[in-house]
Point group: D3
Chain length 285, copies 6
């Protein structure tokens, strides 16, 4: 890219009010989708997070890892079984989930962030009993799929205060010591709320909330959480969007200043959202 | 057990000088062998560690996980291959090693310690770049088997200062960000040295160093590290004992006050070693 | 005592939940009676306190010294005069009381605790104006016998924070600077209340509160403070027990979690009370 | 300026290694020349400094104010008198110098930085006896022109630690309490050295050091301080450049990592120097 | 002065209760009038302030500088124009005011206090946006004469905590960054209130409030602020006294313990007011 | 005393350089002689110490109590026995010494200082094992008369840091836990040395060191410790002066800036010594 110095400096100066806005504030990023599988995008995300933490923003990274779990299950000859969009998680599955999330995905993210010049610490819900879970109740028995009962922010705040970006696998721990599979969006939402985060960013593989789902130009940039029931009724929020947007609403209701669904397929989408005046995707306030 | 109160109080009082000795000091425990597979022994170890941390001793737990790695390799249909006692670790194997150690064994230990009333934080060598590794050089190419280049104690000390027992998986990280399989005894030895530990305890499945390996009554209770070459020459230290005792020697040489090989098959062997005047196994000073 | 190692470790593990319960909490011990005159018992008490402070319990020791005061008064040819169980304290007597308590008993306890491996600091009510007293009013003029007007906890907390066991003589100071003789049970009760202690232990020469005062097997292990008036009416609490139990009630009413009357004639009674599941004597809650 | 988001984010990411390099480091900026008189340039400088302090760089601003002093002297009918490039400073002149620098220029800079969103604190050499001066000795008597005897960094570090950008007028204070006029370049150089600054930036109205002073394309980007005598001998460093470059050499000799002469006429020249890989002007190392 | 040692020590001892009273408390001194122009009185004031800060009293010095401003205006050929006792302040005048107050008077006071052995830091209303001002509204347009909108105590408290006597010029800063001339009495009153000062001392050139303004023996030593309206009605408070006494009333109403109008023409009047039992002048409570 | 205000303020100002000199410095005062028995003098000493601590001087008070010990020994019918000027101290005597010093004299001083507005904490050599002693060896067996083996300054510094004037009884503690009678001058000298005190003041009942012991006008104001052997040889230092002056020499040799023998019979002699330019008595430097 050929950019003159005056343009470079102008871009930096343009970012100043945004840096000031988020300085010393907590931003929770739910990392997932293409941004996690495409190498170039991964690289961009890591760079973004190192930059954000360097300019004084306290980033907390929460990740899932569905595709890697599926791959591992396949490798050990175990069929992935989903009921109502949620993974049926028997004893053997939760073991695989834990290994893949905490032992593979989490540690690779920690390594990667450090290779990019950051400092990171991997945590899962059992470390310092951060995410206390209980069996999800409902019509169907999903096995070791959990509901969050309590979030202990101490391990996260310790990591931030000690100068690390906390990278969190959303495996929860029951009061009996058993592990539970927790939906990463839900966990990110609860963690953001407990940390009184300034912003919760959910990285997805969609442009944002569209009035007409086949037309990207109908992106709704801002939604007030009170409008969500109406948008559901109208069918604008539907299908797989529902649980994700429910997480947004929940986070805002519990005190997060804003939640944004961004298009993780765009490189540096986190940076664009946080440090430019355009923003991308749909924000819920 | 039927014990009168006066006996109970006497036992507690007898422990006092040992508690005073280790108060506020760091003790590194390398956890492995039967003590890690037998449920009753595991329970006793967890209780011991909670008690030790409660009376003001700073315990750092380092663990391996060979049997669990073998089981998982078998499950994915991958043959375990050893060369000169060391696991040949190709790309696929290091992934399994990492998952099993950091994602399964480590997290189960964290959960278990907390179920017993302690506070724990799981760490692996990549967290905060704690264990920087490089490819082990030698006659044979062992793949991703690593040698420790540098230990950063900050993540361990942060955990201790924040009130947690750090539980460490010995997966190291190369400067290129790749993971390396590190021998747990070696890692425990180096970590103990860097932490200036008061004591390094290696849990094993043997009684200790025996003059006559077939006669438990010939246990050598104390060895000065300068005598080790002579004991090797005489064949008293031989076979699988050699690398383990080399770790003991190395730790003492680098500043650890003493290193003890204890019999992990005895319940509460850690407590007996640290808080009674008998000690068990063989200590190197 | 011949105890196998497994028994030793079991006793230590059995103590764990109690250590956890009192960890970082304040326990006030009123020291007196046989436990203070019998050398073997004294030794056991000192060991107990060193052990308790080593495992993280904040012990505050409050002592009287009646027998030593009597001995000294006799030595200077002064008759001990008691009115309604309280010592008539004229100018000369208060001088002797002060000398014996603050100059002899207190300093001997400080020395003794340190000889047993602890760290101690002797304090009396005038240090840092810790116990502000006023003349006890009532039907009879008892001279310089005082009532506690105010407790300043700063000198006690300073000592605890600086790593010492505070050992307190209960000589109070009037606003005019004159010294007053304060009942040690009363002082311990007020100090425990002001420190929001977890437990106040009164060492006595009785088994505890008995339904039938001639039958030790009728010990009442637990009394709710609301039952005390009824027990007084029934005559179960009577005589010299009344003021002591009033101190227990007062402490509980002012916020101490529990108060225990223990039999100081049993060696290590403090340890048994705090670190075993039996407890001894009668607790008031 | 029309810039796409991907370009914006790329510019930010490109700045990351430079932000990391200067993070938590002290950078001293000598502000002067056109950058101080042209409104647009002033605006850019203020924005640069706010941005730098926001991304964790500790900026210290040192300023002169020759043109404003001249204007004020003229206003009160006092002739500006220069001897060998230095202002002859009698009693009346030092009063005007002090008023203009500390009371006008300094306070306007403080206000301006704050209007741009920063936090600033104005200091002069007499505050906390920061710059202790003595009469400059030499062939000619220059009146109250001073030489720096000692720099006390405490007021500067206090300001930085309290979260302010310190803005410094270079009026020194004699041990007799009299004020002295100190050359701002010299003061910036000494202050940078005493603060162990990472970088000292001197803003000037020239492109940098040129091999052929009439040809901007002959800019020498880097000079090792050991080459300076040779460059003087060759006449490449000559005239008014000599004292300025002597300040650069002096700062590097006393421990500043590098000193840069930048062209203050280019907007955002500070940002370009610190946060891009081009740099501008001539650096002395 | 020939004073015997016993008299010297008695004076010191007599000061003790007053030192105790003001220890660690904030006292704001509005410095002005003769005490600021007469060299001997200046000397005494500086000594007083160094002594007070040495004995643990937190002194904040607020100053005006009318005569010096007039002199400078005259020097540049600008007429001083007063409307209703307030200086008409056009653009040119506010520049002179700022230069004289912040650049000359303030810095001379800082130097002087340090020459007397103290540590001082000069501040004006724009430093750290300490005094945010807005244009004074009223019947007449007075130009850049300001009203205090907000006082930020952080820069003052930072200076005190860092060990300096803060010396304050009362130039305020508008939200647009423009400077405003603020009456020093008013500023001292507001600053004292925001700092919850123990005492606000206004140095004047009068004996205090007199019942008969021509008879010094009719000094009213103490006035309750509730009596002020009555004293105004009776004409005892009149003319130039009115705004000054309004400042006293305002300070007391906003939480300052007492405000005193003292006769700055008496050497060491501050010391006499604070450290003797006589007090001087008139106090408002 | 009729003193005009200007005289009062002058006295305070005259004290300023001395306050500055001792500010935040430790001054050890050995209290004894008439100043301790005469009520008016006692009152003056207490006032002096409160004043000194209020103006930021860290006073440590060390006291003896010979007359009170004698009185008590007499009261219990025990003869005071001196050998070579030192009290023969058998088991019974050391008990009395301890009671009188730690229980009576010390606590009365603590009370008294507090009645005068100070904050005090009584300490003896056994508190925190402050003064570790061993049996004084020599030609004659003096019983429990001790020599200082080690001074632990922690309890003294803790008291100073917690805001108290430490008041110290010089009863030492042997490593066996037994108490020893320590000469108060010697103890004060060692404590001052270990605290790196600025000044050690020994209060006595003499004018100072006189050339002609019968002529007060021959007072030697200053002695360099190197001159002491010569003064001893000449007989100017003789008799009871020898051990006292040896303490002065020892303190200076071990790092105390100066030691002064002052005439405690003069009221406020401490204040005169520390806060006036006259000084009294003889100083050793």
């Amino acid at each position: 890219m050929e950019l003159k110095n005056n343009m470079r400096s102008q871009v930096l100066i343009d970012a100043l009010p945004y840096i000031q806005k988020y300085h010393d504030k907590i931003v929770v990023v739910k990392y997932g989708g293409n941004a996690m599988t495409n190498d170039e995008l991964k690289d961009a995300v890591m760079n973004d997070i190192v930059l954000l933490s360097m300019v004084g923003i306290k980033v907390v990274l929460v990740h899932g890892g569905g595709p890697e779990i599926n791959a591992m299950l396949k490798k050990v000859g175990k069929e992935s079984k989903f009921i109502g969009g949620l993974r049926y998680t028997d004893e053997e599955t939760i073991d695989i989930v834990k290994m893949v999330l905490c032992g593979k995905v989490n540690k690779e993210l920690v390594s990667s962030l450090q290779t990019h010049g950051g400092k990171a610490l991997g945590l899962c819900g059992c470390d310092g009993q951060m995410i206390v879970a209980q069996k999800l109740t409902g019509d169907v028995d999903l096995g070791y799929v959990g509901d969050i009962k309590k979030v202990t922010t101490k391990p996260i705040l310790d990591a931030l205060n000690n100068g690390y970006v906390p990278i969190i696998s959303t495996v929860g721990i029951g009061e009996d010591g058993h592990s539970y599979n927790i939906n990463a969006d839900t966990a990110a939402s609860r963690i953001a709320a407990c940390l009184r985060a300034e912003n919760l960013i959910l990285m997805t593989d969609i442009v944002g909330l569209l009035e007409d789902k086949d037309d990207d130009s109908t992106l709704i940039p801002t939604v007030n959480v009170s409008e969500v029931p109406y948008l559901k009724k109208k069918g604008i929020i539907s299908g797989g969007m529902i649980p994700k947007i429910d997480c947004c609403v929940e986070a805002v209701r519990r005190g997060v200043k804003k939640t944004v669904i961004i298009d993780g397929r765009i490189p540096h989408s986190i940076l664009i959202e946080l440090l430019t005046n355009e923003g991308i995707g749909t924000q819920f306030i």
